[in-house]
Symmetry: C2
Subunit: 335 residues, 2 copies
DNA sequence: TCGCCTTTTGGCAGCGCTGCCAATCCAGTT
DNA sequence: AACTGGATTGGCAGCGCTGCCAAAAGGCGA
């Protein structure tokens, strides 16, 4: 594939300098608009850049520059299959693109070892900052991140201690608020329906908060179904059918997220179960479709874009170490 | 933020060489497992690397290496809000992470000028390859991409000429197949409900293919609703309500994608319209939820992950210049 | 033990850029 | 015209690494 472009050397700053009849430093100053230079020099450089089609080499620039760190941000997320993470990236890139800082991303597939490998790989690009998801990491990941000499921001989860800065919300609190809502509405035989907790630690924290709040009300989970694999409407639908077969007397279900809840809603529609009359449904995330349902889904809206934005802001300025952006309980009409 | 890490210099390859009592070149050879070195040298280097916590500096490595191009891939996508693009990234990162090549991403927000700026920014990192979305770009973008001396792959759309390699499917053909399906089922008063076509050119191509196939059958669109803004279930629901108010006699609706179709389905549920008895619905994309609906959505499944994977493969080897991965029409039960 | 060939090794230039410094220029003063 | 201070400029070292090359170290049969 490399023999396709034998154009020899790409245009360098030295070429521009020669073409513009000025020194290299002048070109550098003009291009970065840093230091002082005459109007004339600016024009000649601009002209030469345009004529030669010069594209700066940031590898060289970053290497030579102060601190030798690149204007890049390394991001490790567990998955791209769950809307939450693209939303996070969306907030992030919106804020970073404005600064002209691109993200280098790695997807860990919820595997801590892959995460560690990705952190090492990303650090080798000497990013200006590193963004991780959640607070649970391999010890090696933490050592690497600390030794990397970069700002580290952990996103989404605030239930625990971070390496450096943390931006997110409390998943435990979300679970507790959800439980209190259901209990307050009079539901008593409440089941949990989720996807694999072994990998999604934050779903586990929500469940823990949920059960704790249930316990405060003198209740316990009335049924429990954990589906292998990632969350999806299909999994939610199959899961609810399984759950109802085992516990026909359920009156409410707390889902690990809205995707699962949508599947549950579909199951109810298909089975002709009145929602919430016969069965109440409660989700998590507050995705777009939740509000468009015939009966808006009862759920908790999480500030996903805002987490991304604040995380980006956190990289730039020196904000507080822990930012809890909270969440919003959406009453909806399904619970 | 930078005064937080005054740890002085990070560990360099020279430090490792000194600590291991070997030359720099030997360390380099060991680390890249390139060239020959003794077992003893390998062990001493490995020990020193572990002891010092050395993380290579790829900025320097790439700068010094052959062709001075980085083991990075630049990706420009129009949005992260539409599942399609995260899915694309998913296929991509799955294939690239295996090779240890991270993606540097930029989000253009469907703006050709932003796309051009992002291409320039990404090229300045001297990526090994550049991945763009769609075939329509600013002339400047094309010039840049060509001059960058990198392999360029355009994803998703095969209806037109690419800069270098193209991986995707024909949106026109998707539209035509969808129309033929609806016509074959006996629907005659068919409307189109979509989001902003000005930005989503591929949706426009589908619609063009759809109308062309309709014309072949002697039909024309019976109603037409374009919603401003991005696609979403909420937009689909509101759109269908508006459409039905204007054309109460519709018997089928072709949606710009499944998200819009889901909103349409919700609108039918809410209004008590039988699907497909009273109104048939047809989507596009074949998202997860489509199969979990009480009546599986009639739609077209696109090979999003596979496009990402093939695009990655395309960067490595020298595959064909144009790969059409086709699509699958899913009959479903809504049309 | 010696010569010959292969494996292993270290030195060093240089990738393209930035930061520092000293040189130059220029306008305003004296 | 000489002088002064700030604005502008170019030269050059060096960022951390790789590729090249020549030197050193082994291996082995004679």
């Amino acid at each position: 594939m490399d023999d396709l472009q034998p154009p020899g050397r790409l245009v360098t700053l030295t070429d521009v300098a020669r073409a513009a009849g000025v020194g290299e430093s002048t070109v550098s100053r003009v291009l970065r608009n840093h230091g002082s230079y005459s109007k004339r020099a600016g024009e000649r450089v601009a002209e030469a850049v345009a004529r030669l089609g010069y594209v700066p080499n940031r590898l060289a620039g970053s290497l030579a520059g102060q601190g030798a760190s690149a204007r890049l941000v390394g991001v490790v997320i567990p998955s791209l299959a769950n809307v939450v993470f693209p939303d996070l990236l969306r907030g992030l890139t919106a804020a970073l693109d404005a600064e002209g800082v691109p993200c280098v991303i790695g997807v860990s597939d919820y595997d801590p070892d892959r995460e560690e490998a990705l952190v090492a790989a990303l650090l080798s690009w000497r990013p200006a900052a590193l963004l991780l998801t959640g607070l649970e990491h391999n010890p090696g990941t933490v050592v690497l991140a600390r030794a990397g000499g970069v700002r580290v921001v952990e996103m989404i989860d605030t239930d625990g201690e971070g390496i450096d800065a943390v931006v997110g919300f409390s998943n435990r609190a979300v679970g507790a608020a959800s439980a209190r809502h259901l209990v307050g509405r009079g539901y008593r035989r409440i089941a949990y329906l989720g996807h694999d907790l072994g990998v999604d630690l934050r779903a586990g924290k929500r469940l823990a908060g949920f059960e704790a709040a249930l316990a405060e009300a003198g209740l316990a989970l009335h049924g429990h179904e954990i589906r292998p694999g990632p969350s999806s409407p299909a999994s939610g639908r199959a899961g609810l059918e399984a759950l109802l077969a085992r516990h026909p007397d359920l009156d409410a279900v707390y889902f690990s997220n809205d995707d699962m809840a949508l599947g549950g809603y579909f199951a109810c529609l298909a089975a002709g179960l009145a929602v919430p009359g016969r069965l109440a449904l409660f989700g998590f995330n507050g995705l777009d479709f939740a509000a468009a349902m015939p009966q808006p889904l009862s759920t908790v809206r999480t500030p996903r874009l805002e987490i991304g934005r604040q995380a980006a802001a956190c990289l730039m300025g020196d904000g507080p170490k822990k930012i809890d952006l909270g969440f919003t309980l959406i009453e909806g009409a399904t619970a």
